[in-house]
């Protein structure tokens, strides 16, 4: 994919822009407020999904609301991991560790099982879920700092293996330090936001006991996570367009060159790690609140691989792409669950759903061979001057292409994502 990047800007292929490119062109040309205006109905439609219960799309075997709530958490994780892997190019295989730390912070502060609550002190007072979330984010950010500062001097594969070890260590610590974490029994009855208390919902809409569809707890957690996703997207998007984001891209493309050009690479790698970690912690806090139960075995390292799957599948570096990747990862197995027929064709849905890791593994292998940039690849824009320059350059480029198309073009032109992330090493 790397060799044809620079040579592929032949005139002819640009006229046959793919649908994705056309959409992107149109979207990028819109002013920001119009983007929000166009985006809101789409967001509202997505938000209404658990209520509308559209046929075919709605899952059969499990509650659709819960699936979407899980998707919300995975989307947050994918956005966070995307900062580390997609933006900065640091392969983190232990991301589940941060997810676990976030969930456990909430669990340890609010669960009656928590060893911390047995002391007769301020720790024992009942914390509200909302009050614990910032603490969870802070604790995970700190853990990201602690892990990152010694290990980020390593590069590439070595970093991947060390982070893998870290993810496993976090799980083993949660399992073994029984006096500190509750151990393998886990922590139950974790706090959740109490809101919308009514007669049929005595514990509020967010309680796991609220199971009457369509407005069950899953739908409410989905909405909450959607709000958080939008906030995080705005923050991360602004970071991307700032000096920090430019440094990340520089580090990803060539760390040595970035260092020589004056980018304090270690500092910005650490930033990426800490920001990614805190987003993972936020997602973990959501998880703890929704399920109201954490247990070490949930945070197995294989989950890290699954999160990575979401990022790679969606397209490293593309925020919206990785959300789509998270959706695929969460939704597809659940889609097949409990289905006996699909469009009239009899299938054994439960069996297909249990094969999910097999399919994801094959998908990863095939994707790496034929489309290593993911399903929705990121387009590297001119970060410094922002969208306007990008749009102007695309227009000029299209005009030139249209002009050139009138003259014969060599047949060897290869179609390709012209400005995707190239294999530089």
């Amino acid at each position: 994919m790397s060799s044809d990047v620079s040579t592929s800007t032949t005139a002819a292929d640009s006229l046959h822009l793919g649908l994705g490119d056309r959409l992107r062109m149109w979207w990028d040309a819109l002013p920001r407020h119009t983007q929000w205006l166009v985006g809101s109905p789409i967001i509202i439609f997505i938000a209404l999904l658990p209520v509308l219960r559209l046929p075919v799309i709605t899952t059969v075997g499990t509650d659709f609301g819960s699936v979407l709530a899980q998707f919300g958490m995975y989307a947050l994780l994918a956005i966070g991991l995307n900062v580390v892997v997609g933006q900065t190019g640091l392969l983190d295989l232990g991301y589940v560790g941060f997810y676990a730390i976030g969930a456990y912070t909430v669990g340890l502060l609010t669960s009656p099982d928590s060893p911390w609550n047995l002391t007769d002190d301020w720790l024992s007072t009942d914390w509200a879920w909302m009050a614990v979330v910032p603490i969870a984010i802070a604790v995970t950010a700190l853990s990201g700092l602690l892990l990152g500062s010694p290990t980020l001097r390593l590069r590439g594969d070595y970093l991947a293996i060390v982070t893998l070890g870290f993810g496993e260590i976090v799980r083993l610590l949660a399992d073994n330090l029984t006096e500190l974490t509750g151990g393998g029994r886990g922590l139950s009855q974790i706090a959740y936001p109490v809101a919308g208390v009514s007669e049929e919902r005595p514990n509020g809409v967010f309680s796991a006991g609220n199971t009457t569809p369509p407005l069950n707890s899953g739908a409410f957690w989905f909405w909450l996570s959607m709000v958080l996703i939008i906030i995080v997207l705005v923050i991360v998007g602004n970071l991307e367009r700032s000096r920090v984001g430019r440094s990340w891209v520089a580090i990803r493309e060539d760390e040595d060159a970035a260092e020589i050009m004056g980018v304090p690479t270690f500092k910005f790698k650490l930033w990426a790690f800490v920001i990614g970690a805190s987003i993972g912690g936020l997602s973990g806090a959501l998880y703890a609140g929704q399920v109201q139960f954490v247990v070490p075995s949930t945070f197995n390292v294989i989950n890290s691989m699954l999160f990575l799957c979401a990022v790679v599948l969606g397209g490293q570096g593309n925020k919206l792409g990785v959300i789509a990747g998270a959706f695929i990862i969460v939704y597809l197995p659940n889609f097949f669950l409990g289905r006996t027929q699909l469009f009239g064709i009899p299938i054994n849905g439960d069996e297909i759903a249990s094969y999910k890791y097999l399919f994801f593994g094959i998908a990863l292998m095939v994707l790496m061979i034929f489309r290593p940039q993911g399903l929705f690849p990121a387009r590297q824009k001119l970060l410094t001057y922002g969208r306007q320059v990008y749009v102007a350059s695309r227009r000029a480029y299209l005009a030139a292409a249209a002009l050139a198309a009138k003259t014969p073009v060599p047949a060897t032109a290869t179609p390709s994502g012209d400005d995707t992330k190239g294999g530089t090493r």
């Binding site: 994919m1 790397s2 720790l123 070595y158 496993e168 083993l172 097999l358 990863l364 292998m365 790496m368």
Partner: protein
């Protein structure tokens, strides 16, 4: 604020991690011998990581699954030989047992070596042709791990009528009963431990000679040092790469037999992962890319892990290995013996 400190002190008052140096001192020799047994298994698996890394600069993340397939190869061979899972060990007499173990060894080697070469063909070769960056290789390896694990998890039981694979570990087939043969400094050594350590050392020696003293080995070393020049000198790079994967796979198959002797109930689809990471740690510990380093690192890791287990408690065994890996990577990323097969780390 004082209440905060008070609470913290109360929580931390009980010792969370037992620290028992006495246990280490009492069982020092027993731990050393058991550690060497595990260590020689790690060493054999580590050779696979280190050779592939030396030649391709690639961490073959799926090597742990090759080892796992080797375990199933060993088990399948024993089933084919007519053994069935039973509580008691078959005591067939020494010559027959050695024969059966030899056949199982070959079975494991064929399965593991074949799948290693197959993995290279299917997963890595297309990427090499495209000149993909190393991250892409690593993600492919993760995908391949998934596929191999889930193959054994779901597909293999269908192919074998539930005799092999599936969610649960295989019912152990014990060919040999552990019998104490002699004691050294008060620690008894069993026949299984002797067999594992001696055969691993023999295999390690053969591998070392193969790499350092044969024409094929010279080809591997040449490609590791400089692929372009080696190709110009008439070494077929593709064949060297295939050979490297084959050697790694065959040794993983041997390690699989030894592991199933030591831990008969460990044959499960997810059984390769942790051991693979430890073997990788061993390779890094000794200096990745360095054959002798992998052997030394494996033995060291096996012993250290058991010392750590004695001092901190059984549940901390894996943590000891991971912490060791992190420490080595941080303070001496080139390992004890250095990276001798290739260039300095990028």
């Amino acid at each position: 604020m004082s209440s905060v400190l008070h609470a913290g002190a109360q929580v931390l008052a009980d010792p969370m991690i037992g620290f028992d140096l006495g246990a280490l001192a009492r069982n020092f020799w027993a731990l050393t011998i058991d550690g060497l047994t595990y260590g020689s298994i790690y060493a054999l698996v580590a050779v696979g990581y280190t050779l592939v890394y030396g030649v391709l600069r690639l961490i073959n993340f799926a090597h742990s699954e090759i080892f796992m397939l080797g375990m199933f190869g060993v088990y399948g061979t024993l089933l084919l030989l007519g053994f069935t899972p039973s509580g008691n060990a078959y005591n067939e007499g020494i010559p027959m047992t050695i024969l059966y173990l030899g056949i199982a060894l070959i079975g494991g080697m064929i399965v593991a070596g074949g799948s290693a070469v197959g993995l290279e063909r299917v997963a890595y070769r297309p990427l090499r042709k495209r000149g993909a960056p190393s991250l892409v290789f690593l993600i492919t390896a993760i995908g391949a791990s998934f596929v191999i694990q889930e193959f054994v998890h779901f597909v293999l039981p269908k192919l074998t009528n539930g005799k092999l694979g599936g969610v649960n570990a295989q019912q152990p087939i014990r060919l040999v009963e552990p019998v104490d043969v002699f004691s050294i400094f008060g620690a008894t050594v069993t026949n299984i431990e002797i067999a594992i350590i001696v055969s691993a050392l023999v295999l390690a020696f053969i591998t070392d000679r193969f790499i350092n003293a044969t024409k094929f080995g010279r080809g591997i070393r040449a490609v590791a040092q400089d692929p372009v020049t080696a190709t110009l000198m008439g070494v077929s790079r593709e064949r060297v790469i295939m050979l490297t994967f084959l050697i790694g796979g065959v040794l993983a198959g041997a390690a699989a037999l030894f592991y199933t002797l030591r831990v008969p109930s460990g044959i499960i689809y997810s059984g390769g992962f942790i051991l693979g990471i430890k073997a990788f740690s061993a390779a890094v510990l000794g200096g990745i890319g360095n054959l002798r380093g992998a052997l030394l690192g494996g033995l060291l890791l096996g012993v250290m892990e058991l010392y750590g287990q004695a001092v901190f408690g059984t549940e901390w065994r894996d943590v000891v290995a991971f912490v060791l890996l992190v420490l080595v990577l941080m303070f001496r990323p080139t390992g004890i013996l250095g990276e001798s097969l290739g260039r300095a780390r990028a």
